[in-house]
Amino acid sequence: MSAAARRAFAPNWAARAGFAALALYVVYATAQLDLTWARLSIGFGEAGRLFARMLPPNFARWELLAEGMLESLQIAVLSTALGILLSLPLGLLAARNIAPWFVAVPVRGFIAVCRSLHYVIVAILFVKALGFGALAGVAALTVASMGFIAKLFAEAVEEISMKPVEAARAAGGGTLAVLIHAVLPQVASRFTGFCLYQLDSNLRNSTLVGIVGAGGIGGTLFAAFKRFDYDFVSAILIAIIALIFLAELLSGRIRAAMR
């Protein structure tokens, strides 16, 4: 065999076939969904008109805006606090190196259920169960926070060094004393990080649950959309963006201080 025939890289036929199939499916799906340039250009035109009507933002109804934002903020803070309180024991019980398997496995299952549904769906369920208003929003976001923090916290606990745990047990420490002295110090800073991240996303999420009637600025936003008050819509959007920026700034500061 000549030297030129030797291949340095084997052809990956599976990858080539996969990319070809993906390209074909994209073409097929585009045709199926009737996505055409004509529709896109009409859409861009409409969007231009929408933006034109959004400007300038109208803060005349600032009281309504402030009320909604405040409610969203309260939903976010309350649900994060409740979620943290509940996720602390849940996370410890779900950690397989701390809890016995017959506890860890069902708790993990419970956490998985909390995480399996999107929070908007959970919010719809709570609106049906508890009625319209902030209570449903707080409940929905608490479930979401609990699932998120508990899962990550359990994983962090599973990564700790068991050596200090062994030492604390050898000194005669009871289960809770060992947790407080040897487990929590190893995961405290990561736990704080998860909580800050969850507060961040709850601020965002709390602006949305209102759309399904679970309280907060989302309801005001949705109503403004339906009444074609686009200048008020843009005022609400600006307020939400400002709030998220502020939260980002604050949690960044706290994170830096924790290091």
């Binding site: 050596k163 200090p164 030492a167 002295h181 040897a182």
Partner: protein
């Protein structure tokens, strides 16, 4: 303090991690009220298992372990925790909580005594704090109380480990390869410290150690283990090359 019978008495201690493959095979051992008893033997021969059976970090398969008459092997729950408070342990890799301060690590020795809320709020009784400071002075770390454990060198960490064990006012101290992670000079210094401080309060020490020379130098008695059974038991100067060959096997390394 001194009991007429040996404070620690082990009878027929069996341990198998895998059924049918015993690590300890019916071990009998008495430990006197004072001084260092060194346990030497090849890796995997059950030295660590023996120490961990005594404070029940490892569950013995069968046998009796009596500390001042009480059978540790039969204890459960609260009784076991109360017994563990009387047994200090020093670990090869120090087993400190790295993110906590030296003082907090030393006070870990009081975990079995102090109320939970005090542990949580770090409101330890003043007597404990005074004793912790005294122990930090004794192990030569008077200025280090508020430093984080992960800021210390290996030798300093092991000194904290010794202070933590003595904080318990133990009836017995278990030291599992306390110098294996240290350089030779620090190893000697740490063992000197361990011998001096435990000698002052008359606490017997059970010391696992790989270094035969150090065992000879610091121990009052040497026990040679091989395959879970006692090969040699006697004073350090009675330990001959023939014993070492029997304990570790082979010829050429001596």
């Amino acid at each position: 303090m001194l009991a007429p019978s040996p404070p620690l008495s082990i009878r027929g201690l069996f341990k198998e991690y895998v059924p049918g493959k015993p690590v300890l095979r019916g071990l009998d051992l008495d430990v006197e009220a004072e001084g260092i008893t060194a346990i030497i033997g090849p890796s995997g021969t059950g030295k660590s298992t023996l120490l961990r059976c005594i404070n029940r970090l490892v569950e013995p398969t069968s046998g009796e372990i009596r500390l001042h008459g009480e059978n540790l092997a039969a204890l459960r729950g609260r009784a076991l925790r109360l017994a563990r408070r009387r047994i200090g342990m020093v670990f090869q890799e120090y087993n400190l909580v790295e993110r906590l301060s030296v003082m907090e690590n030393v006070l870990c020795g009081r975990l079995g005594h102090v109320a939970l809320w005090r542990v949580f709020l770090r409101r330890y009784p003043q007597a404990d704090i005074d004793r912790a400071f005294a122990l930090l002075d004794a192990v030569g770390l008077p200025e280090h109380a508020t430093r984080r454990a992960d800021a210390l060198s290996g030798g300093q960490r092991q000194r904290v480990g010794i202070a933590r064990a003595l904080m318990q006012r133990p009836d017995l101290l278990l030291a599992d390869e306390p110098t294996s992670s240290l350089d030779p000079r620090t190893a000697v210094e740490v063992l000197e410290l361990l011998a001096r401080l435990t000698g002052e309060v008359g606490v017997p020490v059970l010391l696992n150690i790989h270094n035969v020379e150090l065992a000879r130098r610091f121990a009052r008695r040497v026990i040679g283990l091989s395959e879970g059974a006692v090969i040699y038991d006697g004073p350090p100067d009675g330990l001959r090359d023939a014993h070492l060959r029997a304990i570790y096997g082979g010829e050429d390394w001596l």
